[in-house]
Each structure stands twice: as C-alpha cells, then as structure tokens.
Symmetry: C2
Subunit: 639 residues, 2 copies
C-alpha cells in the first residue's frame, strides 16, 4: 500500500483525509438537490458502484435504498476468484480471505450402484485450477460483503453513506444540455412514509433488483425462461455424519431429488439448496406450502444413509428465479444508438437474473458496476466523451447472455438421458466433467469483451499468449525492485479509475539508456504524441491517468535502480516525492517466472494496456508507440 | 477463523458479543474501585497485555496511561518475525502485512576503497532466512501497532479501553489474603490535575517505560552500561539519488560516522538513525544542541556521493539509551522466592532497555507481556497455583540478559581493530557476517526457555528435531482435512490462553481404530488420568483448556474423515456444534511436507505440547500418556 504521499498522518491508511464541505449525513440533514450519480439500491451492484465512485473526490454520488438499513443475512454467498481479484483492488480481499470459507475441492455424490437408496462419493474436483487465479474461491454471506463495501465508502474522502428509507419511484430524462438532466422522484419509506422528494442527477444507475423501478422507467423488460426454477435455500447450524459437510457438494439421489451443500464462513454454518422441481411429485405439489421442516426432511431423504441434525436455522427461503434479461442495460433504444448518449443504466438483477446453481448472481452484479464505474468517472471528469458509456450495455449484455446460454447448456446436458455418446464419453460422471469444463466460467474468468474503442485488436496477441486482449489481466508473481518484495503484479491495480501500462522489457534490457525500454519511457514521458503528455492534466501527477510499470526479465541483483528511466521513478504529490513502486523483476523465490507463466515473448517483450476494471485493452509490440497513441486517442478527449 | 459457534450474528467476526453489565467508559463514568489486573502504561508492553487479558470474560482489567491519548508518531518501528507470529494469534498480522514495509534484503555500504570519501555497496543479505518463519520482518510506526491492539481490546466482550490521563504514583502490597491486596495510587494528569484516587487490584503490571514508577515502588533499579549511547533518529519524507533507499541499509562512512536507513510503511517514508558517538569530535561536542538541520547535514555527509533532499520531517529525536536491566521483574526478593508469590510485575522498558540498533525494544516488550498474560489468566481462573507466576521473571529476565550480552558482543566485534584473525576470516566484511549470524536472534527466534514446570526435558527431542523444547513452535504448511484448505499449522494458535497438543501420527496411521492415534485420542478424551479429563471444567468445551489437533502423514485423499476419533470432532458451545478444524494432513500443493520440514520421526510420530504463548513445552512419544499426565499435573491444579 502506498500512503503518506501528501504528508504523514496517523491512523488507518485505508481512511482517506476527509473533504472539506462534504455532505453531512446526520439525522435531519437534508438530501442534496443535485448529484452527479444517483444509484438506486444497496445490493452488491449498487454498493460496488458507490464504493467505486467514492474514490473520485470531484464526483458527487448518492445511493438510495428502500429498506431501513443493510440486510443481516441470507441471499447470495459465492465469491468467485474474479470477484476476489476485484476485491483486492478495493482493498478488502485480505479481509474476505481471512473470514470466509474457501472452496478448495468440490465433491460429487451419486446413488450407490450397490444400494441406490444410499448416496456415495463418486469423485472430487479441485475447485480452483492451478494458476487460474492467485485468489481462492470463497463463500461468505452477502450482508458481510455489503459491509465491506460500506466501509470503503465511509473511508473515502466524502465519507459516503447510503440514504436508507427512500425509494426511487420514477424518473424522467430532460434536455441533454441541462446540467442535471435526469429528474428522479423519491418517496420516503420511513417515518414520513409517502413523502415525495425530487433529486436531479447527471446519471442514474438502477441497481434496484429484479423488480427494478429504474428498469421500468426506461421501458426495460425482463424476458427469458417463463418457467421459473424454484429452490429451497437454507443456512443452518447443524451436525451431521455426512463426511464432506465442509466441502462443496453436488448430491444426486436416486429418487429423492438433488441437494447442493455449500459450507460457509466461521467453520460451523452451511447452506443447503434443494432443487424443488426435482422432488418427487408429492413433495413438489406442496411447493407453495413447503416449510422449513419439509426442507430439512427432504434433505435428510436425499443424503441417506447420512442424517442432518439441525440446531439453528439462520435463514431460509424459497428462491424462485428464471434466467431472464432485458434487451439493453441503458436508456438508449437500438435505433437511437449513435445519436443519443445513455443517461440511465440498469445493473445486476435489475437487468438479468440467474439460477443460484452456478453461484453467479452476486458476482455478475458487481462486475456490471465495476465495468460501469470508471466509464462514468471518465465522462464526468471530462476525460472521455459520453459515447464511451454505450460500451457498458454492449459489453455487459453480451456477458449476461453468455451466462444464460451456459446455464441452459448445463441444464440440457444434465437432463439428457444417460448413455448418449457425446455426453458420457468415459467413466467420469457427465456432471463432474461438465463442472470441470465450466470452472473457468464459474470462476468469472471466461469474460471476454469484444473489440471496441476500449478493446484493441488481437493482432499482436502472440507477444503475450497468456494475457489475452479482452480478458482480465491474469496476475503472476514478480519482485519489486526497489525493496525486493515478492508480490503479485496484478495487485498494483487499485479501483482508482486509472489505466495501467505494463512494459515487459525485452531480454537483456536493463532499462539503462540506450535501450528499448529507456526509449519507450522517454517517449511516454515527453513526446507530444504520448497519451500521458496529451491527456494528463497539468496539475496532475504523471501517473494520474496512465500508470506505467516495467517488468524486467532479470532477478533483482542483475539490475541497477539508479539507471532506470525517470518515468519509472516519478515525483508526485504535494511534496514532489519519488514513487519507488513502478519497477519489477522476475521472482527469485521459486514462485515462477512471469514471462514464462504468461507466455511473453522474451526476445521482443511487449506493452500491455489494462483498463481501470482490470481487463486487457491491448497487447502491443514494445516500440509500437504510434499504435498506442491511436488507441488512447480513441479513449480520451483532450483536457 | 471460527465463529457463529453460539449462533449466527451479522457484522465483523472480530467483534465479540458484548458482556452484560460491563464497565461503562463514557465521560464522567467512575473508575472502578477494584480490578483483577491493573496495567500501568499504554506502550507496546501494556497494550499487548491488555489485549491478551481482554480475551478472558471472567477477568477484569484496567489500563492506566499518564498521557491524554495514544501517541501519534515516533518511537520504535521494527516488528520482527516472532512478533508477527504473535500478531497472527491476535488476529491482525494480515493487517500489518498489508500496511507495513517488508524487510526483504539488508544492504551494506562501506567506504569505496578507490575513493574512501564515497560509499559503495559491499553486499546484501536476505533478511529473513528461508523457512525461518512464515512471516515477514516488517517496519511500521509504533502508534499504528498500538491502534491495532486497541482494536482487539475494543472488540473484546468487555470493550476494554485505556483510562487515559491518570498516572500511577505509588502502590503498596497488603495482606495476601485480602481479595485485592495491591493498593494503587493514581493521580489525575488531565483537567482535574493532581486529584488522587485509589484502586485496589489483585495484580499490577508496570508497563510504564524506562522511568517506571511501578519499578520504583517495588524497589527495582535499572543497572548496566553507565555510558549511554546517543542516536539521532528521524522519520522523513525525502527524495534521494541513493539507490537502496527502499532497503534496510547499514552505512559506514570513512570519517563521517554511520547511518542506518529503515524504509517505512506507505512507500515514501523512511527512518534514519545516526550514531552520534561515532561522529567526528566537532559534531559530537555539539550533541546536546544537535538540531534537525545538523542531523540532515551529517546524514548527507555520510552517504556521499549521494544526497538526501528532505521534504517533511515527520518526527525526530535524540534517543539516548543504555543497555540496562533490573535484577528481577517482579516484587519478590531473591530470598523470599518460594515463600511469597509475586503480585506486582514490570515489563518492557520498565525493567530492561536496549539500543535501537538491533530493533528489539518494542518486540521484547510485547513478548514480555505475552509471556505473562496467560499465566495471570491461569492463576486468576484458578487453573494454576500462584507459584506459576514466578516463571515470568525467570524466563524473561534470562532473555533480556541474553539480549544485552548479544549486543555487547556485537559492539565488541564492531569496534575491534581490523585484521584480527577470528573476526576477519574472509572477504565478507565482519559486520555483514555478524549480521547474518544474528538474524535468528534479531528475528526473535532464538528465545529459548530453560526447563521448569512449564518447559519439559528434551529427552525425546529426537522425535521432532525441528521443534525444540523451550523454543517457539515453528509453523509449517499443512492441509486441513475437512475442507482441504492449505494453511499454516501454527495459525491455529490464537491468543486465547489455551494449550495446544499436536498429535503427529505415526506412518500409515489413519486415525481409524484400532490405531495408535485412535488409542491416544480415546485416552485423552476419557481416561481419568488425562489432563483434559482432570482439568477441564464440567461446564467447559472439551478443548477449552487443551486444544488437541492431529496431523497425518498422508495427503487428503488417503484419509477418511468419518473414521476419525471423536475427540478430533468435538461437539461444542451452546448448540453442541461439531468442530471440523482439528485434523490436518500433509500438503499436496508443493508447499512442503511438515514431517520432513520439522524433522518428525515418521515411524513413531510424536506429541508436541505448546504453551498458550506459542512456546514448545514438551516433545513426547505418541504413547507417552503417563509423562503427559505428569507434565500437566505440574501446570494445573484440580478445579
Ligand atoms: C430472497 C433472495 C434470495 C436469494 N438467494 C440467492 C441465493 O441463494 N444464491 C444466489 O446466488 N443468489 C441469490 N439471490 C440473488 C442475489 O442476491 C442477487 O443476484 C444479488 O443480490 C443481485 O444484486 P443486485 O445488487 O443486483 O440486487 P439486489 O441485491 O436485489 O439489491 C437491490 C436493492 O435495491 C433495493 N431496492 C429495490 N427497489 C428499490 C427502489 N425502487 N428504490 C430504492 N431501492 C430499491 C432493494 O431493497 C435492494 O436492497 C437471492 C435474492 C433474493 C432477493
Ligand atoms: C522518545 C523515544 C524514542 C524511541 N525511539 C526508539 C527507536 O527509535 N527504536 C527503538 O527500537 N525503540 C525506540 N524507543 C523505545 C521503544 O519505544 C520502547 O522500547 C518501547 O516502546 C517499550 O515499550 P514499553 O511498553 O515497555 O514502554 P513505553 O513504550 O515507553 O510505554 C510506557 C507508557 O507508560 C506511560 N507511563 C509512564 N509512566 C507512567 C505512570 N506512572 N503511570 C501511567 N502511565 C505511565 C507512558 O506515557 C507510556 O505511554 C524509543 C522510546 C522513546 C521514549
């Protein structure tokens, strides 16, 4: 962590210095009249966006929630590895790692062929494939995830807090040229129930869940599966003789239905999902009146010969959900694209809903707004033209679609009769094989954004075969040169709206002029065509917009810090202090060589451009300065 | 982390449920009349003890501080690996790892033989030897360490806070049979300056620094070096062309003196120590009037040809200190040992002071009270007789003595004329060689308590050559069987006053009866001679006093959870929930085999008894139940 740039201050480094004249949140303090970004809903989508926006001192944000406070329990609990990587950028991945359950192995149980009334373990699968992410797949209750985002907000310079007890009832979009064109009608859901208030915003984001009023206001409609799936879900403190109770388990019984076991944070709690439409007819008929006791009874039938002795039901629910989505995630109709720029967006369950089986609901919701946040910031800060905002809907719609399709495919495979040749190739049960094939996808690692003004072509992909354009930057171990610290390169990326430019040096390049790396740094620092020169404002630090880091092929003893290019040791902040965290070399502690792990061309090196949301925007030859210029000219506008 | 044992609760798991009728800390709330433990001073020693005591719901603690609040800057900054291991037990090692500077390499600079007016790097040493600890050596300001302990206190069930603005002026020890025999006179140092108040305590611990009033009250006197060493110390935000500024550096100039560079948390700050008695005569003469500017000028002379451009002086001080210590760390005079039990203790700087060069001051202070805390708890809870308390002074006095001696030895070697054969054996500068030899010591890892009622003999040491009786339990990687989680075995030890008993299974033992491991578990759980049977109270969980964990030689696939001994899956808490975190196996992810790493006899296995402060109390054959009984009979008294 870097801090004290503008002088020493005691206390937690996570807490930023407070802004003067920031909004007051005391009792009876008024709501603001206008705001840059108004967010509806404090679910994972809304809180992730609020936490992101709170990182920008010059943008005002307001987040509205119908309920009187944060949820205490229930809802989703799966944090895939991709989301953990994002949490790292927000600074709380370590907290989640410490508090959460880690999914290390997933166990599969099926009817015992010798006695089909009983279940038997048929196999286990390592849940996070080696080197697929440096992060674990974790399970923790959604309320706690909310709290961690709330802490980020509260630690920000605006000390952002939700406005609980207000709901968005409607909104209207006025003239583009008004300062705050979106007029939002709020209704008090607290003591002054029914009281109406209007707030005007530059942008509105509906993170208000499956029954979203924001979606309705922009004419969006969820469509898709008409047949909803119903799940009984229960978080319990219970004892059992089932030996895999602390492992994620997919359990299929011969005749009683299926149950999914998810062990949870704290070492005692676990969750059970019972797929209600897979129950026997008599069970299912009672679905509407299905009770806690029914669910416990059914689970006990499924896991025979084992039993579950429930001590405390923490939360339970019948969760009915279809795979449904809207046709776009903003207010611009297909025929107006190009003429009109979006002012209102929807994210998360407000525009797409998913079965809990793949554990994606909470994850995609946050990834939606992590995609949107930096784009809003760029436009509000005048760094990019508002045309950039359209990419939110196109990128995230395609991902939601892929999610729905994958789940349908999974369902098709699972429900096909046994023995079909393409499905039952070998001994391994098909759902185990399919689970393995889906791991990258369920880990959130398969997301792949198509070419656009913010995703370049893959012309030079061969220079870094393991860092694919359009996919997330896949971290790997490095050593920081200045202090010889072993670390993950990906962890330099904070949720701060900045772009990263990784310069992977060609073999034998030490950074000392004359060298390719020295030339590129020189160009980046001072050439009039350099995006840093063109788009960084005169009152900003050299790395305020594009944060350049270099990675050398040598280990630390073979490099000289004093001959490194000045761009890699920039003076920053109020005091003009030197930043010593831009230069990396290859790990010498047996963690692996990043050049080899990510397939980087050793002879040539390369440049990797990474977006503020950690997605790879471009892979370019190390000397491709003109391509770099062209790419960033498509992203930014002159200040 | 394990939590929710007594039911689900939302919020941070670090925050314990609050006690009913706990003390109120609001403005104008009264001080208590009596308290079990009164601690004087909120330095590292006092706060570590307060954090420890706050873990025991049935013990009341009060911590008094003369100043009006926590310090904001300055003082010590080095956290050695041993202290990091202790922080892990308190739950905040991850926070320190995230926020702090890590000392990875220490660089040595000496006069350039070709131009002695300039310095030149002569070498580097890896600062934490491979597998000497799983923790890094870190640097972070003392104020922040204080804050992290304060958080532990505040999260405890008593919501313990310091009483700032009071000083201990004197104390007297009354009759042993009074409930609260120590009468402590406090004086208000705040608004009601001079007001006197008396609090009676069962035990008093003077953590009140080098000028300790508690030490004076029990007739202790610091003695040792009469010649104080004087150091100029300065925490600065500065730029420099000195290339190793983000590495710990020992710099010796030809004629200008020595400087020690310690990079600090946040990436910009660093500390410089200038050894004032090594300065040229004209500099030294001015020692008393030595100013900030002098210090900066001298540092610039020493590091020639490089320069330091100071942007902000965060803190600076002339720190004068001798290696001094008292002859005992409690109130019992030598001739009364055996007749009298200690009631008053001193810890940290109150009873021993050290040169900052070895970076030990803050570390030993905390290790002092970590040694004392569980002993106080055992006696106050009636688990041990008060004779146990004497071991605090004997164990910690010997360690302080070793520290003083080692520092003297270091000084002797450093000041001997060059060319003496035993000191200059080879090319490597003697101070670099000596630094390497001292690493285990400066890491806090050389601490070795002698045999006593709480440290057994080393008769069976050959069964675990890497886990030495009397030294700290050296962690190693394992995998937890129930959830296949890769982790450090040492991290199961929390600062909760419990003993750990590690059962290392013999080869091929799977825990399934009949087997050696099953037998031992059976004995521990139910035999009347078992210390668990004898000393655990009937209303307590089976592992409340002695926490048994088993480690098997197989990897996870080769073991069956369902056939493990019941002792290793105990039912606990209000709900009788099963604990699934007692059984470990060998790592399968390439982190290493604990049996091999710690030299454990594969054929026989062994038992390792670990004290609540993480020191190894005993190594025993796996079947040595009668020796185990004898050992614990020496520790505990029947409830
Ligand atoms: C009862 C329930 C159980 C679930 N169980 C699971 C599960 O077991 N597994 C799983 O993967 N997923 C589950 N989910 C889904 C998962 O929680 C969602 O996918 C995830 O929360 C989506 O996040 P979101 O931020 O888009 O929406 P939500 O988390 O739904 O958040 C929307 C928020 O907006 C608020 N809101 C709604 N309307 C307005 C308005 N007009 N104005 C202001 N605020 C408004 C709501 O009160 C809510 O706080 C469950 C959802 C529900 C509701
Ligand atoms: C100015 C200064 C600079 C230092 N610099 C370094 C350094 O550079 N490197 C290094 O390794 N170590 C340094 N130290 C030493 C290091 O801080 C100590 O070794 C460490 O703090 C010892 O911890 P402690 O808890 O024993 O005592 P302290 O940290 O000294 O804490 C004692 C506490 O007791 C309080 N107190 C004193 N008397 C009373 C009383 N009668 N009643 C109630 N409260 C009382 C004090 O206000 C203080 O808060 C420095 C110490 C000082 C004072």
């Amino acid at each position: 962590m870097q801090y004290y740039l503008d002088g020493f201050r005691s206390g937690s480094p996570d807490q930023k210095n407070a802004q003067p004249n920031r909004r007051e949140y005391g009792a009876h303090a008024p709501l603001p009249e206008t705001v840059d970004v108004l967010i509806a809903g404090t679910g994972p989508a809304g809180l992730c966006l609020a936490a992101q926006m709170s990182q920008f001192d010059d943008i005002s944000t307001m987040i509205i929630e119908r309920s009187p406070g944060n949820i205490a329990k229930g809802k989703a609990d799966g944090i895939n590895t991709r989301t953990m990587e994002m949490f790292q950028a927000f600074g709380f991945a370590e907290s989640v790692k410490r508090e959460s359950y880690w999914v290390n192995q997933t166990a599969f149980w099926m009817p015992d062929p010798e006695n089909p009334a009983n279940i038997k373990r048929v196999g286990r699968v390592q849940d996070v494939a080696d080197d697929s992410s440096e992060m674990p797949h974790t399970l923790i209750n959604q309320a706690r995830v909310h709290e961690l985002f709330l802490e980020v907000m509260k630690n920000s310079s605006s000390r952002l807090q939700p406005d609980y007890g207000w709901m968005v009832v409607d909104l209207s979009i006025g003239d583009e040229h008004e300062g705050f064109p979106v007029s939002v009608t709020l209704q008090d859901t607290g003591v002054n129930w029914g009281e109406i208030k209007t707030v005007r915003a530059k942008y509105v984001v509906g993170c208000d869940g499956a029954r979203s009023n924001v979606r309705k206001a922009i004419g969006g409609e969820l469509s898709g599966d008409s047949a909803h799936q119903a799940w009984g879900v229960m978080d319990i403190l219970a004892n059992t003789d089932f030996p895999d109770i602390r492992q994620k388990c997919l359990i299929t019984s011969a005749h009683e239905g299926n149950v999914l076991i998810l062990p949870r944070e704290g070492g005692y709690l676990f969750r059970m999902y019972v797929e209600l439409d897979k129950l026997k007819d008599d069970e299912r008929a009672a679905e509407r009146q299905f009770s806690q006791q029914d669910m416990i009874r059914v689970a006990n039938q499924i896991i025979r010969p084992y039993t579950i002795d429930v001590k405390e039901v923490v939360w339970w629910s019948i969760y009915e959900i279809g795979h449904r989505m809207t046709n776009r995630f903003d207010n611009v109709a297909e025929d107006a694209v190009g003429e009109q720029h979006p002012r209102v967006f929807t994210a998360g369950d407000a525009c797409h809903t998913h079965s809990p089986k793949a554990g994606q609901g909470m994850n995609v919701s946050m990834q939606d707004t992590f995609n949107l946040g930096w784009k809003l910031a760029h436009v509000l800060q005048g760094r990019s033209d508002p045309g950039l905002l359209r990419s939110y809907s196109s990128e995230r719609w395609a991902e939601a679609k892929r999610l729905v399709d994958t789940d349908h495919e999974w369902a098709r495979i699972m429900s096909a009769p046994p023995g079909e040749s393409d499905l039952d190739r070998d001994d391994e049960p098909r759902f185990m094989r399919q689970f393995k094939e889906n791991l990258e996808f369920t880990g959130g690692l398969a997301v792949h954004y198509g070419p656009s003004r913010i995703v370049g072509s893959s012309e030079y992909q061969a220079l870094a075969t393991g860092l694919e354009v359009g996919r997330r930057f896949h971290s790997a171990p490095v050593v920081r040169l200045s202090d010889v610290k072993p670390m993950q390169l990906g962890h330099v990326a904070q949720a701060d709206g900045r772009w990263r430019l990784y310069l992977f040096a060609p073999q034998n390049d030490t950074g000392e002029a004359p060298s390719v790396l020295a030339d590129v740094c020189q160009w980046l620092e001072s050439h009039p065509d350099s995006p840093i020169q063109r788009y960084t404002r005169s009152d900003e630090d050299l790395d305020a917009l594009i944060d350049v880091r270099a990675i050398f092929q040598q280990t630390f003893e073979a490099l000289n810090y004093e001959t490194m290019p000045p761009l890699l040791r920039p003076m920053k902040g109020r005091l003009g202090l030197q930043d010593h965290e831009k230069i990396f070399c290859v790990d010498h502690k047996g963690e692996g060589d990043i050049f080899q792990m990510r397939g980087i061309n050793r002879a040539q090196g390369c440049m990797i451009v990474v977006r503020p949301d950690q997605y790879i925007a471009h892979v370019l030859p190390i000397r491709a300065t003109s391509e770099l210029k062209v790419f960033f000219d498509g992203v930014f506008v002159k200040p």
